[in-house]
């Protein structure tokens, strides 16, 4: 030994200074100093295995490794770079935040690395280094196993290991106290053709020393000597451990003297080795003495070191000394993760009591958000199967120590997640004893676990457990969590009985019923309801029954069940009674359906209503009205009359005296007439009522009888009624009478259109045209819907082949200017001939339209027909015409689409491959949409295929269309069921599509699936941006932030909108930190994204204000604006957003301070932009008084003169004018106008409009032409023009 130490002295003399200055040591864990950390780590190979973690960031691993690998010349290296960075970021984040890595994360990164093909050396190193003390939640042996798995797997994949990998593995061995043979290890290295270096030897020495094998250590030391390698403090520290473990404490202590002799002052590592040695022996006195000695020296032990001593005591079986060391811990905030990791490690080692002791000593602030700080401990106890009673006791202690508000509940949740039934039972009992209720849904996670494995016995056990706990399974438990594991509900009943599992028959039956209903088994429902003897709540069944109805299309069963509900004494008989209950059921049924569903099932529903009528089922009128409104909003008013027949009229009459029946009204009318009193009002009322009852005959009779008392309103309703009943003759006569009564009276647009339709249909063309003329004369409002109605009138006529009607009405509509000719409106002119297969006339008509109106209606259909019929000459004619009028490209596209449509793909291919043809997105989109509308899958697929090489073609758009048609999500689901996995691109496109269609839930489903099935699944820029926007909208800000990180890691440029929304959302939450994180993330990319610095300035300030850090926010803004080196030019320092949000949020204290700040900036620093911004925002939000208080208008005026650089002068003038208008201050407004015109300032229309209105209101003349449009118009115009200038 002496020789060995002598040689060490010699070595040391040769190598100068000791390796570890204190300053460097303290830098450990500090960010941005990888090399400091690195030296430290290399030098401080911990002699004690399983050592607590240094927080040194994993970045240092990468930094170190990158230096080592500089010559590694692989191309895959670069390819893997982004993959590596991603993995690094995940692991690094975890280590930085918590000082540990969860096993699942490491597994995930490992899997991803394997999948990436040939993992690089850096990745391998990163993974290996993670397998030591960074995994406190894993048993030591498991960690080493993990490391070996990684080692072998990566080697198989072709990773080449160098000395750093072997060293890393050694370190993991040391940390995991793995027993191995150092000579074998060296042999392994030799076989791998890798030369050991100083670090290798150092660690091998540590390995020997850990086993107490001084001889082995000496051998290695000998090697080092022959190679002239320096002996560092780490070696000495290891030797301290080695001697101690070999039972030779005396020599262990001597090492310190030897070191000093050799010229190395023992550092903290050496002392720590010694302290651990004492601790392992349970020698508290020496530990204390040594600690005192260190304290007196200029050395310094960190919390981390003290924790290490605690670990040594605990593992050696001396927990009684832990408190004495705990007292010395300072609990610096940055060591809390270390403390947590020690606690986890102790739990892993089944030293839970000691772990709890340390936890309880943690000075965590009790009232802060960390009030459930103890969660990590409880969760880990559950994982390592700490005995239930013991855990229960811990819960109690944590609660008493206020380290957890609800430890039992939390631990129960962990137990449920981990499917630990026995533990769960103990915890539930404890909860119950403490007076907490045990709820049914507590058992669901357990049932889910068994359900996944179809474990019937397990389910029975849980149900029994529920019974023990005094909980009765409810319907939901059966329907959602029990039934699915069985083949049939009958077998559930049998199994429960067999196992003596108690169950409430009533609940069970109702659950069964619900289950059957949801599956559309209406037969069962009916027979159950017929034979049922149990009391029964219809309300509980309503939802399932509605689902069942919608799943089954058997209308007879629908009706029978409804009848039973209505008539049978067992159901719906209590107040409010069957009429009401069934009425609501019908309402809910229709309400639950979508409009397309109702439209598709129109006939079924009609049948259903008629069958109900037959069965004498009635519904209240108010519910009928609700249903009518629903049907109206679904665009199926045709069903209204069919529901109407169910209305219970008699009752309505007697009950609601306020609403008399038509017969009541009629007798009243007659009575009034007889008394010679005015009857106009009541007559109109009666007519309207008859109209709503669709009783045309009676209404017309009544009109004839009391013609002289008819008023305009009555006529209008009658005309409409006749139109509905297709009665052109009476409609026309009524219209004439209506005109006679009051020639200036105007009908509403819809009634005019209906008249035109009916008259046209009955060949009364001239009358129809007269109506159109009247519409023009009386300036009836023409809406988009009106134009569409015109089209339908024309198209209906065209389909009936009524050439004259189409031509004349079209001519009238267009020449009167009621609608402009368009490819849609004018298409019936062509349809006429296409329907008759008269192709030459059809083509002629299209060409005619072009000559008259410059449109080519239905050219595509005409071409298709020509191609089908092989009309070569006509095709040529059409093509010549199009080519000449609209250019060759248009012609080629027309032909291309026509060939595609008619299945002539070869010809289509030739066309699209014409040299020089380019993509025309709008035309391609038009065709895509057309294919989608007509469900032409093949055609669209061909389009996508043929346009592959088309120049400048947006493939994404085409794929979207294709996916749309594929009903993509369903395909995804089907494929998922069949375990078919698509490629990355397919999923990415699908997600993008779903996000674009705002189906974010489905998008997430696809994303989750893709992520678990495609290693390294990525989305493209656009999809990630959309995803961020969606996540922000759904308030998943953390996820959105992760997405942003992911996108940036992939070198994507997210959209400005996405980033801005995320920033704004975080700011509104007061999350300053996230906003700053984002700023760091996008640092350097601002220009590519298009982000202004102001986004951050505004939002950070907003977040701070939301957090009540108003002063901080204001101070930092003020500093930015007044400091010497400004990053943003003051005139671009726009704070309008911040101000608006503060005003909108009514954050009065903040607003007040901001006001003071902007005034100060203006007065003392001559910075005027903020004051103007605030002024404008105040005016904008109607706070004119505040604006004025901030800045008197004269001040504003002088400001405008003062600040030539103000960019938004125009807006400021507008605002000033606006404030004068508010005040009706004509004189000032005049002065402003005159001064501006004198200066030749160009005034916008909004300004002029305001001024003009002010003058007019004041009764003064306007010295210019008042802009004719509305305020809104000019405001919008101004806004738009500003946007285009931006």
């Amino acid at each position: 030994m002496a020789a060995l130490l002598r040689s060490a002295r010699w070595l040391l003399r040769a190598t100068a200074a000791p390796y570890l200055p204190l300053s460097l040591r303290l830098l450990a864990g500090g960010p941005g100093r990888p090399h400091a950390a690195l030296c430290l780590r290399a030098a401080r190979a911990r002699p004690v295995a399983g050592g607590l973690l240094s927080q040194a960031r994993l970045h240092s691993i990468a930094a170190e490794k990158k230096n080592d690998l500089q010559e590694e010349p692989t191309s895959s290296h670069r390819r893997n770079a982004s993959q590596f960075d991603w993995a690094l970021m995940r692991l690094d984040n975890s280590v930085r935040r918590t000082g540990r890595i969860p096993k699942t994360l490491l597994q995930k990164v490992f899997d991803n690395t394997c999948h990436s093909g040939s993992p690089g050396g850096n990745q391998a190193l990163l993974l290996l280094r993670s397998c030591g003390s960074l995994l406190p939640e894993l048993k030591l042996s498991e960690r080493t196993e993990f490391a070996h798995k990684i080692w072998d797997e990566l080697q198989k994949l072709g990773t080449v290991y160098d000395v750093s990998h072997y060293n890393a593995l050694l370190k993991v061995y040391l940390q995991n106290e793995h027993k191995f043979s150092p000579t074998d290890f060296l042999a392994k290295m030799e076989k791998g053709n890798v030369q050991p270096n100083r670090v290798t030897y150092q660690r091998l020495i540590a390995a020997y020393c850990n086993m107490g094998d001084i001889e082995g250590a000496s051998t290695i030391l000998g090697f080092m000597k022959t190679k002239d390698l320096p002996v560092t403090e780490a070696v000495f520290s290891a030797l301290v451990t080695g001697h101690a473990r070999s039972g030779d404490m005396e020599n262990a202590e001597n090492i310190l003297t030897v070191m000093k002799e050799a010229g190395i002052e023992p550092g903290p590592d050496t002392y720590l080795a010694l302290l651990n040695a004492y601790a392992e022996k349970g020698d508290i006195d020496h530990v204390k003495q040594t600690l005192e000695k260190v304290e007196k020296s200029d050395l310094y032990l960190m919390d981390r070191d003290l924790l290490q001593i605690i670990l040594s005591f605990s593992k050696a079986g001396y927990p009684q000394y832990v408190p004495e060391i705990l007292e010395k811990i300072t609990y610096e905030r940055r060591y809390i993760p270390d403390t947590m990791n020690l606690i986890l490690l102790l739990v892993t080692e089944k030293l839970e009591d000691t772990a709890l002791q340390i936890l309880l000593a943690c000075p965590i602030s009790r009232e802060s958000s960390l009030n459930d700080f103890g969660s990590f401990f409880l969760r880990h106890c559950v994982t390592v199967n700490t005995p239930p009673e013991q855990l229960r006791d811990y819960c109690k202690k944590l609660k008493e120590a206020q380290l957890h508000t609800s430890p039992l509940q939390f631990t129960l949740q962990c137990a449920l997640v981990a499917q630990k039934f026995d533990l769960a039972k103990v915890l539930m009992k404890a909860l119950k004893e403490e007076g907490f209720p045990i709820r049914t849904h507590y058992f669901w996670p357990l049932l889910v676990g068994h359900q996944k494995e179809k474990n019937v016995q397990g389910i029975v056990e849980v149900l029994k457990g529920m019974h023990e706990m005094g909980v009765t399974p409810d319907q939901e438990t059966y329907v959602n969590y029990v039934f699915p594991s069985f083949d049939s509900i009958e077998s559930v009943r049998a199994v429960l009985q067999e196992n003596g599992c108690p169950h409430d028959d009533n609940v069970f039956s109702q659950a069964e019923l619900r289950s059957k209903a949801v599956n559309g088994n209406l037969d069962y429902i009916l027979s159950f309801m017929e034979s049922n003897t149990l009391p029964f709540s219809f309300a509980s069944l309503r939802g399932s029954l509605i689902l069942g109805f919608r799943r089954s299309m058997n209308i007879n069963l629908w009706s029978k069940i409804t009848e039973l509900l209505y008539k049978d004494g067992r159901y719906c008989q209590e107040p409010p009674g069957p009429t009401e209950a069934v009425g609501y059921f019908l309402y809910n049924l229709i309400d639950s359906m979508s409009d397309s569903e109702v439209q598709a099932k129109e006939e079924h529903l009609r049948q259903y209503f008629h069958q109900l009528k037959e069965m004498n089922v009635k519904i209240p009128e108010n519910i009928y009205r609700g249903i009518r409104n629903l049907l109206d909003s679904y665009h199926v008013p045709e069903l209204i009359k069919d529901v109407n027949i169910l209305v219970e009229r008699e009752k309505t009459d007697s009950r609601k005296t306020s609403k008399p029946s038509s017969s009541d009204l009629e007798s009243k009318l007659e009575k009034l007439k007889a008394e010679n009193q005015p009857i106009g009002d009541i007559l109109k009322q009666l007519i309207l009522m008859l109209c709503s009852e669709e009783n045309m005959q009676k209404a017309l009779e009544l009109k004839a009888k009391y013609e002289s008392d008819m008023v305009v309103g009555g006529y209008a309703a009658l005309i409409n009624l006749c139109c509905r009943h297709d009665n052109a003759e009476d409609a026309l006569n009524l219209k004439r009478e209506f005109d006679r009564l009051d020639s200036s009276a105007v009908l509403d647009t819809g009634k005019y259109v209906r008249l035109v339709k009916v008259l046209g249909k009955h060949g009364k063309l001239q009358d129809a045209i007269n109506i159109l003329k009247e519409m023009k004369e009386k300036d009836v409002l023409i809406k988009d819907a009106t134009v569409l109605s015109f089209f339908h009138i024309l198209n209906g006529a065209a389909l009936r082949g009524e050439t004259e009607t189409v031509k004349q009405l079209h001519e009238a509509i267009v020449t009167l200017g009621l609608a402009k000719p368009s490819t849609t409106l004018s298409s019936p002119l062509v349809t006429l001939y296409l329907e008759k297969d008269d192709l030459p006339a059809a083509l002629e008509s299209t060409i005619d339209c072009y000559e008259k109106y410059k449109i080519l209606p239905r050219i595509h259909d005409v071409l298709c027909k020509l191609i089908e019929k092989g009309e070569t000459e006509l095709i040529q004619k059409a093509m010549d015409f199009v080519s000449q009028e609209q250019g060759e490209m248009t012609m080629l596209y027309d032909l291309f689409f026509a060939f595609l449509q008619t299945g002539n793909y070869k010809e289509a291919k030739k066309i699209i491959e014409t040299p020089g043809i380019r993509a025309r997105p709008t035309r391609l989109q038009w065709f895509c949409d057309r294919c989608i509308a007509n469900n032409q899958v093949e055609t669209l697929e061909k389009l996508v295929e043929l346009t592959q090489k088309l120049f400048e073609c947006d493939r994404d758009q085409l794929y979207y269309s294709l996916l749309k048609l594929y009903n993509a999500f369903n395909i995804f689901l089907t494929a998922k069921k069949q375990n078919i996995v698509f490629d990355n691109e397919a999923y990415a496109r699908l997600i993008n599509l779903l996000l674009m269609k705002d189906n974010s839930t489905q998008a997430m489903q696809v994303k989750d699936f893709a992520e678990t099935h495609i290693k390294g699944f990525t989305l493209n820029d656009a999809a990630n941006s959309l995803l961020i926007i969606t996540q922000v909208r759904r308030d998943y800000l953390k996820d959105a932030l992760t997405t942003l990180k992911t996108a940036l890691d992939l070198d994507q440029i997210p959209s400005r909108l996405a980033v801005t929304r995320l920033i704004q959302a975080c700011a509104l939450k007061g999350d300053t930190e996230s906003v700053q994180d984002i700023q760091k993330l996008v640092n350097g990319l601002e220009d590519s994204i298009g982000l202004s610095r102001m986004v951050f300035i505004n939002n950070i300030a907003l977040a701070q204000i939301k957090n009540n850090n108003i002063d901080v926010a204001i101070e930092s803004i003020e500093n930015m604006l007044t400091s010497e080196n400004q990053t943003v030019d003051p005139q671009y320092f726009g704070l309008a957003y911040l101000f608006r949000k503060v005003i909108e949020g009514q954050l009065e204290p903040a607003l007040e301070k901001i006001s003071i700040m902007v005034e100060r900036l203006a007065n003392q620093f001559a910075v005027y932009k903020p004051v103007t911004d605030l002024f404008l925002q105040l005016v904008d939000s109607g706070k004119v008084d505040d604006a004025r208080a901030l800045l008197q208008a004269p001040v504003m005026k002088s400001l405008l003169e003062l600040i030539p650089e103000l960019i938004d002068k125009e807006e400021a003038y507008s605002c000033l004018m606006k404030s004068y208008v508010f005040d009706s201050d004509v004189a000032s407004a005049k002065a402003l106008y005159e001064s501006l015109t004198a200066k030749n300032v160009k005034l916008n229309d909004l300004f002029l409009k305001r001024y003009a209105v002010l003058l007019k209101n004041a009764g003064e003349s306007v010295p210019f032409t008042e802009p004719p449009e509305s305020f809104e118009f000019y405001a919008k115009q101004l806004k738009e023009s500003k946007e285009t200038h931006l």
């Binding site: 609800s406 997640v417 849904h441 669901w444 639950s592 409009d595 569903e597 749309k964």
Partner: protein
């Protein structure tokens, strides 16, 4: 997809203008009956949903309370603290979906 779009439309139609509170951060120990019980103090709860994840047997911490009237919803929103099982809930009005699209559309221009 059509079906889901249709469902979306139904949801939209159902929620626009109807008094619904959107509740987040519901503790795992509480389910719809606990929520209903709590919110009954503010008015008549027509419907209360706390969807459970059938894959895990836990709910996701979110729920919807349908009140009979705007006033009742208002009452509920007025109350500052909603605590169930010792956990503070986040309660906010359910925003009509149609509005959400526009909300930020003009906000980017300020920069």
């Amino acid at each position: 997809m059509a079906a889901s779009a249709a469902r979306g439309a139904v949801a939209l139609r159902t929620n626009v203008g109807r008094p619904v509170a959107f509740v987040r951060k519901i503790p795992w120990t509480a389910a719809s009956s606990e929520l209903r019980e709590h919110f009954a103090q503010f008015g008549h709860v027509r419907k209360c949903t706390v969807p459970f994840d059938k894959e895990t047997g836990f709910h996701k911490g979110m729920g919807w309370i349908h009140f009979s009237s705007e006033e009742e919803l208002h009452n509920a929103l007025q109350q500052e603290n909603h605590v169930i099982d010792g956990v503070k809930l986040h309660v906010q009005p359910q925003r009509p979906k149609a509005l959400q699209g526009d909300q930020t559309s003009d906000e980017e221009k300020d920069f």
